[in-house]
Symmetry: C2
């Protein structure tokens, strides 16, 4: 191994840089990002690499390349927010517009109780192990949410908890859809650190979901998941009623 750093910035990824800039709003829909040759010079990298990275942004619908003109940022509605790479950027840099976060949360309010209910029906022992491990992590990283690193850990456990429940449905579509949770969970953990909502109460709600799934009680799992999301919506300053679907939906 070399002396100084094992992995220098690996390579200055243009995709990463542009994603940060676009998600931060420095380039907005309709704007043009710097042209290829400028990016080459700016990052001391060859054009092939630049084009390769730009293509990644094109493939997820974030930019549009116009031959002989430039690369334009597309409207938010065009972005592939179901793409794992996009949700990762959203959770890392926050969504570029609040509306997207609201709609993702509305979606969660719609489906998560449903998913928890199914998990209660179909979860295997292995699924329960995954759910429990994530929950343990949630509890451990609860108190000392002081530094950024601790918060990141807590956030990861929170994500892992919800993803484990999605996977417990044993349906590939639900499992892959779990990526959509990341952005709003990361946002929640970040905001709850500022607004200091009650973490004990949140933990207890998560425990209820886990127990309901373990005990194979679908109805209880449905309600418990609703309770968790109500807390989430509240912490994010969104009323549960804002959901496009969930309102008024009750148990069979």
């Amino acid at each position: 191994m070399t002396s100084s750093l094992r992995k220098p910035p690996a390579r200055a990824s243009i995709a990463e840089y542009l994603a940060e800039a676009i998600f931060a709003g420095r380039y907005q829909p309709g704007d043009f990002v710097p042209r290829e040759l400028d990016l080459c010079e700016r990052f001391a990298i060859n054009r092939s690499a630049v084009r390769s990275d730009l293509r990644q942004l094109v493939d997820v619908g974030i930019i549009e390349r116009i031959s002989g003109h430039g690369s334009k940022v597309r409207e938010y509605a065009e972005w592939h927010i179901l793409d794992p790479q996009v949700t990762e950027w959203m959770s890392r840099y926050a969504a570029p517009n609040p509306e997207i976060q609201r709609e993702i949360l509305a979606f969660r309010l719609d489906v998560e109780p449903y998913v928890a209910m199914t998990a209660a029906r179909r979860a295997t022992a292995r699924d329960l192990v995954a759910i429990e491990e994530a929950f343990e992590g949630l509890g451990q990283n609860l108190r000392n949410a002081s530094c950024a690193e601790e918060r990141r850990l807590h956030s990861e456990c929170d994500v892992a908890f919800h993803v484990a429940i999605f996977k417990a449905t044993h349906n590939i579509v639900w499992a892959q859809l779990s990526h959509i949770l990341r952005p709003s969970i990361h946002l929640l953990v970040t905001m709850s650190n500022e607004h200091a909502s009650d973490p004990e109460e949140s933990l207890e709600r998560h425990r209820q979901v886990m127990e309901s799934i373990r005990m194979r009680r679908p109805k209880e799992a449905f309600l418990a998941a609703q309770a968790v999301l109500a807390g989430t919506a509240e912490a994010l300053g969104l009323e549960p009623g804002a959901s496009s679907l969930g309102r008024g939906f009750e148990l069979p």
Copy 2:
């Protein structure tokens, strides 16, 4: 315009060729696709283009590139089946394994009644126009489902009908998720052509969904959507009970 063809094979897209081959099962998970130089020769194309296309397959999780070894087809569970490009390939070439189709249909059984219910609550006049236009197309292309072109048209209208309902939720996540419908709808139209199920009955069920949404009757829309999907599941030879979630879920 030129004399012969307005769009020659555009270009022999390696991504398209490999997608067809992989979805047809000629390359299965674990297999290695031809190496770059062979593809260059086979399609009389340069290596940059080949690599660009291979990257597209990498980005959607279909293949994995191993430096100095080759490009391996990944397990089905790794594929990004929520990606629009992947669902387009699935609807064009059919899913490479039946299990994926089953799980997508199970997902539809879970969520479509829910989505129809919301559409009934939130659909605007414009949404209703889109739904109606698709429905008209369904009716027109019903009788003459003889040649392949007619069937394709019918399939497109079927897709448009369901997608319009998803968009009527006015939630970006649901709207983008509507891509997942394409594969099973195309499969249904193909199979129903062989098994000759009753198209009149299917059309009537779709009409019920549309009318329920128009009349703003969420509960009826929920039930009507369930009825459509029951017909779909039957036509595909899958019992509705195979759903991972939907079974036993009733209206509030």
